[in-house]
């Protein structure tokens, strides 16, 4: 047993923290206000190799593993959840699908520029009638010679409006459903028939782009089938497992920021002749935050270690997502309470972080879906299969 980070991971964290504090923090409020994706930051991260942090060096990545990726998400989550969202959609689910299920040629052609940050990725799954019930998608891919013709509409696509490469889940055999009837494709977004539709106006993570995408007779070569025909659902679920873990890491960063702000404020703000820090009501909020943060930290990095050492992690990754999002939401809620009116003011970062934190309980599988994933594993051990 060894609970210490390697010197490489320590160095990586220092590098990312410095970058996040110097380059991301100054623009975090602005991109939220203006609702724009901070490409200047993303390009800098690409130059630093961070957009391929977890991928092997042979595919243009940094080779820092899942633990390295969690460090990245934690540090970004501390400073700007929008930026963490852009990066997570790019690495954690977009490029990850290609890394996990792509063949050698697909990895060379698509993963490598994504890992280098020369191109951006998106992961297109959700539809208007297929959210938690992802197998209910209707986007249809029909074989036509050595191409597939794809028609349909995807909603709530993070990075979808600007991605160069997208992984798309479509129905290839309507008679078979999730197991055998759904296929994943790699799509170059300049393919004719790929259209960007409406942009969503969101409560938080406003510095990320969420768009509707419409496919009209979009022709995708057969060689861009990701994995095998009919196995797309499983491929997408594997990426989501990975993404869930790193949402826990981003939540860890967000919760830590909430704690740090709260401590700073409580030590200087005086009421009834003493700093708030001397009031047990405030001390307890601080203690609860700190305690949950430590529990979350041990969960996140232990699951990262499980991924990096090739152990099964579906259930515990769902726990990271569920617990991480709730810890972050509770922490920022307490921070808002400690800051009182200032916490509610848009002049201070608490208000933005409060809005930003809420999404993590919803996207990449609602927390209700995470609970089903967790419970189904437990009941399976007791010989009972449950359905969502």
């Amino acid at each position: 047993m060894d609970f210490t980070f390697s010197p490489e991971h320590e160095a990586l964290r220092r590098m990312i923290r410095e970058f996040a504090e110097n380059e991301v923090a100054p623009i975090a409020a602005e991109i939220d206000r203006e609702g724009r994706v901070p490409f200047e930051v993303l390009h800098q991260m690409a130059e630093m190799g961070l957009l391929g942090v977890c991928f092997p060096q042979e595919y243009g990545g940094m080779g820092a593993g899942e633990a390295g990726y969690c460090i990245l998400m934690e540090e970004l989550g501390r400073i700007c959840t929008s930026t963490a969202t852009n990066v997570g959609a790019h690495i954690g689910i977009g490029a990850m699908t290609i890394y996990l299920d792509g063949n050698e040629e697909q990895k060379r052609k698509y993963l490598t520029p994504l890992a280098r940050g020369e191109k951006f990725a998106a992961f297109l799954l959700t539809e208007s009638d297929a959210g938690s019930d992802a197998a209910a998608i209707r986007t249809r891919a029909v074989r036509d010679g050595d191409h597939w013709v794809i028609n349909g509409t995807k909603t709530f696509n993070t990075n979808g409006s600007f991605a160069d490469i997208a992984t798309v889940m479509a129905v290839t055999d309507p008679t078979l459903g999730a197991r055998g009837g759904i296929t994943a494709f790699i799509v170059e977004t300049d393919t004719p028939g790929f259209e960007v539709g409406r942009h969503e106006d969101k409560m938080g993570i406003r510095g990320s782009s969420t768009a509707e995408l419409v496919f009209e007779d979009m022709r995708v070569p057969h060689e861009n089938v990701l994995g095998k025909v009919g196995e797309g659902f499983v491929a997408f679920m594997k990426s989501l497992d990975m993404g869930r873990l790193t949402l826990g890491a981003a939540g860890l960063g967000g919760a830590q920021a909430a704690l740090d702000w709260s401590v700073q404020w409580a030590r200087t703000r005086e009421q009834f002749g003493v700093p708030l820090a001397q009031k047990q009501s405030v001390q307890w909020m601080i203690a609860d935050m700190a305690t949950e943060i430590e529990a979350l930290r041990s969960l996140v990095y232990r699951v990262a270690w499980m991924v990096d050492t090739g152990q099964p992690f579906t259930q515990v990754a769902a726990m990271c997502k569920l617990y991480g999002s709730e810890v972050a939401s509770r922490a920022i809620d307490r921070a808002l309470q400690i800051h009182g009116g200032l916490g509610y003011s848009r002049d201070y970062p608490i208000e933005r972080a409060f809005r930003d934190a809420r999404i993590a309980e919803i996207f990449e599988g609602t927390n209700e879906i995470q609970r089903i994933v967790i419970a189904s594993r437990i009941f399976r051990e007791h010989g009972v299969r449950i359905s969502p």
């Binding site: 047993m1 060894d2 609970f3 210490t4 980070f5 390697s6 991971h9 633990a67 704690l259 401590v263 700073q264 409580a266 030590r267 700093p275 820090a277 001397q278 047990q280 001390q283 307890w284 601080i286 203690a287 609860d288 700190a290 305690t291 949950e292 430590e294 529990a295 979350l296 041990s298 969960l299 990095y301 232990r302 270690w305 499980m306 050492t309 259930q315 515990v316 726990m319 569920l322 617990y323 209700e368 995470q370 609970r371 089903i372 994933v373 967790i374 419970a375 189904s376 437990i378 009941f379 051990e381 007791h382 010989g383 009972v384 449950i386």
Partner: protein, 387 residues
């Protein structure tokens, strides 16, 4: 970073779980009902080396690392939290305090007694007016001709009396000496020591919590643990170890509660389906399992810290506060999953629920640990806060 248990630790864990299943599970209900410490099982545990779990072999200990010891406590608590608390008090509070703070003569004299189960360790700190606040103690230790004379009343002394049958009690008691709070090793047969009232408790019913009277007890210098005035440090270090120990107990009771209730949910049919099919039940199970996994490596991390010197006050309090909450919430939800059966003493869940509640009170209530956590967080900003 490596979260894996070693092959040896994995092997120990199987051994601990076997012991608990074979020796503890069959008597857990009975000892709770009869409110008696299970002397036979404690002797068997002694033969396995558990009573000297973390003591070196030269003192007849099993020489376990603290992580393995935490696995032992976890395994025992799955079947019986009372036993885990009795053992934890004995090892974490008493034996390890002697190991880390005693001189050679004390180690040679007392540790083999504790490891072999000839004596069971009892921890006497709390007083009627000193619970969370132990900054000053009413129990006084007055130097007198190369000895100390102790007078005072200690309450809630865990393992206070292990009745008859040839197992003695060794008290680690704390008293206010002229140099400050000082620790003393006091055998049960010391003149002037009387074991009094046994607290009737909600849970942990086989752990004897007693009031202990010290009336003119003459304690030789040889039985002073550490230097004069070093009692506070000894107690704090013991409490940091105990926080991890109780955390491991919380982990065990929470895990087994989910196992028991999940199994129940697969068998219990309502509205024509097993209640496992109901999302309300699934949510209870999923939230509990998530908290357990979040707790698991907090506990092992704390134990690993002990193995690497000493765990920090912050980490100890985090484990203590979080584990107590998890044990309480999980057992509460699992009572709910089992409905009336969760409330019936014929089933183990009611006992687990009663036992788990103690974890938020003993070893410092959660409220005290919250203040200690906040104290540590604010100290990084040079803000001093007091409980």
């Amino acid at each position: 970073m490596d979260f894996a248990l070693s092959e040896e630790q994995k092997m120990f864990r199987i051994m601990f779980e076997d012991f608990s299943t074979n020796e503890i599970a069959p008597i857990a209900e009975e000892i709770d009902h009869e409110e008696t410490p299970p002397l036979n099982v404690l002797r068997k545990a002694a033969r396995q080396g558990f009573l000297g779990a973390t003591l070196p072999e030269e003192y007849y200990g099993a020489n376990l690392d603290f992580v393995s010891y935490a696995l032992l406590i976890e395994a025992l608590a799955r079947d019986c939290v009372s036993i885990a608390v009795t053992l934890g008090t004995h090892v974490s509070l008493v034996a390890m305090s002697i190991l880390s703070g005693g001189d050679d003569a004390q180690k040679e004299k007392f540790l083999p007694l504790l490891a072999s189960g000839e004596a069971l360790g009892a921890f006497a700190m709390t007083e009627p007016d000193a619970g969370s606040d132990t900054t000053s103690l009413e129990t006084k230790a007055i130097p007198d001709g190369g000895e100390y004379v102790l007078n005072g009343v200690k309450t809630w002394v865990a393992n206070g009396e292990i009745a008859d049958a040839g197992m003695d009690t060794l008290f680690l008691a704390f008293a206010e000496a002229p140099e400050g709070i000082t620790a003393f090793l006091i055998p049960a047969d010391t003149a002037g020591l009387t074991v009094g009232y046994r607290e009737p408790t909600l849970g942990l019913r086989s752990v004897p919590f007693h009031t202990v009277y010290l009336e003119g007890c003459r304690i030789p210098m040889a039985n002073r643990l550490g230097g004069g005035g070093e009692g506070r440090e000894i107690a704090e270090r013991a409490h940091r170890r105990m926080a991890i120990t109780l955390g491991a107990a919380a982990l065990g009771v929470a895990e087994d509660s989910v196992d028991v209730a999940a199994q129940f949910a697969t068998e219990r049919v309502q509205f024509d389906v097993p209640i496992a099919e109901k999302q309300a039940i699934q949510n209870f199970i999923a939230e509990s399992a998530t908290e357990i996994e979040a707790l698991r490596y907090l506990v092992y991390h704390g134990a690993w810290q002990v193995d690497h010197g000493d765990n920090s006050a912050f980490d100890a309090s985090v484990v203590k506060a979080f584990s107590a909450r998890v044990a309480r919430c999980v057992t509460d939800r699992m009572v709910q999953v089992m409905g009336g059966y969760g409330y019936m003493e014929d089933y183990p869940m009611a006992r687990k629920y009663r036992d788990a509640r103690a974890l938020g009170v003993m070893g410092g209530p959660t409220e005290l640990h919250n203040v200690l956590i906040a104290q540590d967080v604010f100290s990084a900003w040079d803000v001093e806060i007091t409980p």
